[in-house]
Amino acid sequence: MNHLKPRLLFPALLALGGALLLTTGGCFSLWDGQNQHHQASSVVGYLYPNQTDPLPPPGLPVLRLPLRVGVAFVPSGNQRNSGYIPPNGITEAQKAVLLQRVADEFKGRDYIEHIEIVPTSYLRPGGGFTNLDQVRNLLGVDVIALVAYDQVQFTDENLLSLSYWTIVGAYLFHGNKNDTQTLLEAAVYDIASRHLLFRAPGTSSVQGGSAAVNLAENLRTDSAKGFDAGTTVLIGNLKTQLEEFRERVKQSPDAVAHIEHKPGYTGSGAFGGAFLAALALLSLVRKPWRRT
C-alpha cells in the first residue's frame, strides 16, 4: 500500500485545491444583475395612446341581442414603444389557451350568439378604437373583452445561494426564492358606441424556489402558473360583473344601455313550478280508488 510521504502531502493538497478552483469554481451571473422582471399591457394605453384626459363617449350604448363577442389580449407597448417583447413574456400560444378558457365559460348563453378569440396580431399597439373598428368589420364582433395584464416577478437569494460558488451547489440547492404577482383586468367595450360596459379583475400570487441553473425555467413556469390562476379568478369576477350589468340594464334601461333584438328571435318553452303546482292541485280531485 502506497502512502504519500508527509513532505509531499501539503504540495499535493495545494495542487488539488488549485485544480478544483480552476475547474469547478465559478460565479453565476444571476438574473443579469436584476432581481425583478416586469411585463405589462394597458387598456388605456391601447385605446387612448395620445390622450392624457380621454372624454367619456356621448349617449348610451345600444346592444343588439344576441351579441357577437370578441375576446383579446391587449398588445403591450404603445405607438412610441412598439415591438417591445420582454424576455420571459407571455407567448401567443399561452394567450390563446387562456382566452379559450374565458370563452368556454361564457358560451351557451342565450344573449351571446358566439364568442370569437381575437389573436393579438389583429391588434396594433396603441391602435385605439380605430383598430377595434377594423376588428369589428373583419370578425363581425359587436362587443369586445380586452384583457390587460401586469406581472411582476421578484427573485431574492438566500443563504443557500452561497453554494452557487460550486457547480454542484448551483444545481442542487434552491438558493433563489421567487415571487410572482399577476394582475389581469378585463374591460368589456361596446365597439360602436365606445362605451365601457363593465370590467373585472383577476389576481394571483405564486411563490417558489429554484437553483441557479433552473432559475429562468422556473420563473417561466411560475409566470404561466400566475396567468392561469389569475384567469380562474378573472372568470369568476367576470361572471359576477356580467350578472350585475344585466341587473342594472333590467332596472334602469334608460341609464345603462338600450337593448334591441336582431331580426329573428330566440324562443323556447318551459314548464315552471306553477304548472307543476297546478297539476298537483288537479290530482287532489282524482278519485283515489281509480288510480292506475
Partner: protein
Amino acid sequence: MAADLSPPSVRAARETVPWATLVLAGVALAAFVWPDAAGLLVYERDRVVAGEWWRLWTANLVHFGGSHLGWNLLVFVPTGIWAERIAPGRTRLMLALTPGLIGIALLAFEPALARYAGLSGMAAGTLALLVFLQLRARNADRLFWCGVLALLAVKIGAEAFLGRALFAHFAGTDIRPVPLAHLAGVAGAAVVCFTRRPRPI
C-alpha cells in the same frame, strides 16, 4: 312469496324498463354540461337552411340554463316513464318522431324564430300522450285526465295569445315562448296514439 295477482297488463307495465325516456333525459343532461353542445345542437334557422338538418331534432335536447333544463325534466321524466311503462311501443315511436316534427313545424311556420332550444315540446308531447292513453282506457279517471289536458291547452293557448310564458320564467330577457313547439309535441302524441289500436291499461 305471495303470488302477483295483478292483471297481465299491469305486470307487463311494471317489468318495462323506460329506457328511451331515460336515454333522452341523460343526453339532455350531458348536453347541458358539454360546453360546445349549444353551438352544435341548438336550432338556428340560418344554419338549418344551410344544411345542418340535425339541429331540427337535436334542438330539443339543449337548454338555455339550469332552471330551464330542470323544470322541463321534472315534467318530461315522470310522464315519459309512466307513458313508456304502459305503452312502450307508442311512447318510443313518439319520442323518436316528435323532436323532428317540432323542428320541421318551427322551420315551416315560425320564420321569425332565429334560435330555439328546449325539451318542453317533448315534455308537452309525453304529457299529452299519457293523457290520451288514459282517456282511451276504460279504467281511467276521466275527470282528472280531462283536467290535465285542459291545463295544457290553457298553457299553450295563453302563451300564444299573450306572447309570454304563462307558468315559467326565463332567465334571459330576450327569450320568448314558442307555443307552436308545444302544439307540435301534442300533435305528435295524438298521431301516435290515435293511429294505432288501443290496448287495455
